[in-house]
């Protein structure tokens, strides 16, 4: 009596067994499968980066998931603050991959937008790889020959990260140059909204509030529903 066996091995009636069988036969619908794969960025295209980069209208969820993949691959960067992130965080409020080095304190108004906080779904152990490949350093940041797989989104991220770091180092002009490069290389980039946020921050850091405001207004007019619209408006209004 104490050891639990399956109902079928105990006293289930034929009717109960048929119901159980029926329950076990249920399969996910193809649309559900496609939606999950797409949310994870492993769907349509062969890579997350391809999937995210290919579509102009990549959802925040998709981008977030792609970033989560990157994060779990050791690129501990997350530029996003989103509802999806909060939703995803609920059952597993876990360790975040906060780059411990963070050498340069970001300017005050930068911190909330691009806090070096990986989404809560980042793995608890950030990349062991990062420790043992310092020699690749310079080459990679400039490399154009990264493998096709995953390279597009990774490179987009890398450019945005460069720009962010430049601002943090007090070099907003460098940041803007990097962002101009981003536009040229990724006209259909999946992280266009993130690019706008960083650009607005760079302009503010440069003291060009007029242009920052113009870009912020233009962005929030074009994407009134975007989470970033509020963000950039707050930035230019000085209320964070």
């Amino acid at each position: 009596m104490s050891d639990l066996r399956r109902w079928s091995e105990e006293d289930a009636t034929p009717e109960e067994l048929s119901l159980l069988e029926l329950a076990r036969r249920r399969r996910a619908e193809p649309a559900q499968r496609a939606a999950v794969l797409s949310a994870l960025g492993v769907g349509v295209a062969t890579t997350a980066a391809g999937a995210a980069g290919a579509a102009g209208a990549v959802s925040v969820t998709t981008k977030l998931a792609a970033l989560a993949l990157l994060a779990s691959a050791g690129v501990g960067v997350a530029l996003l603050h989103s509802r999806a992130e909060q939703r995803a965080a609920l059952p597993a409020p876990s360790a975040v991959a906060v780059p411990s080095s963070a050498p340069t304190p970001a300017p005050r108004e930068l911190a909330p937008a691009i806090a070096p906080t990986a989404p809560a779904l980042a793995p608890s152990e950030p990349a062991s790889d990062s420790a043992n490949a310092p020699s690749e350093a310079k080459g990679v940041a400039k490399s154009k020959s990264a493998p096709a797989a995953s390279s597009s989104l990774s490179r987009e991220l890398s450019v945005l990260k460069q720009a962010h770091d430049a601002i943090a180092r007090g070099n907003p002009r460098g940041a803007l140059a990097a962002l101009d490069g981003y536009h040229a290389r990724f006209p259909q980039g999946a992280l266009g909204a993130e690019e706008t946020v960083v650009r607005v921050q760079a302009l503010l850091a440069l003291g060009d509030r007029a242009r920052a405001t113009a870009i912020a207004h233009q962005f929030s007019a074009a994407h009134p529903d975007s989470l970033y619209a509020q963000r950039v408006e707050r930035l230019v209004s000085g209320t964070k």
Binding site: L20, Q32, L64, A68, L70, P91, L121, A149
Partner: protein, 181 residues
Amino acid sequence: MDSVLTLRASERKFCSTHRRVRSLVDDHLDAVVRTLAKLGVAGSMLDDAAQQVFVIATGKLETIEVGRERPYLLGIAVRVASHSRRTVQRRRESPLDELAMPQAAPLPDQLLDERRAYALLEAIVADLPDGMREAFVLFEIEELSAGEVAELLEIPVGTVASRVRRAREHIRQSLLRAREP
């Protein structure tokens, strides 16, 4: 920062991560969707919840032991479903009452009408009290071991056994009631 500078090494890992995520979905989406549905997540919430389960799992990939993916995913599914139930006010009335079984046609012994049988099953499982439902779905439908169920529900194995047995009894009574004219 070093995270940017080691992109290439990271990308290699990215690819294997990508493969593992893909096979998680391929191998376990059916079970995840089944479990969520049985635990009361319905309609468009179901799609969202399924995505959520895999997004969460993807973030914790390195902590998932090879060969233990299914219990792990179903554990997340249980928590996501529970959150989803708290978010959406559950229907107060018993789903069995809504089923409106035609009285002239008692349930056929061989369950010829699968669709109706399925609706009946959903209603009966939905009617189980919380706690019993999770234990029953994971043990009898997803066929996890009692130990796995205990671990992921964080209850003793003995409690799993008693909940599953009570759930069976509950279901048996529901079936009898569904037969009554």
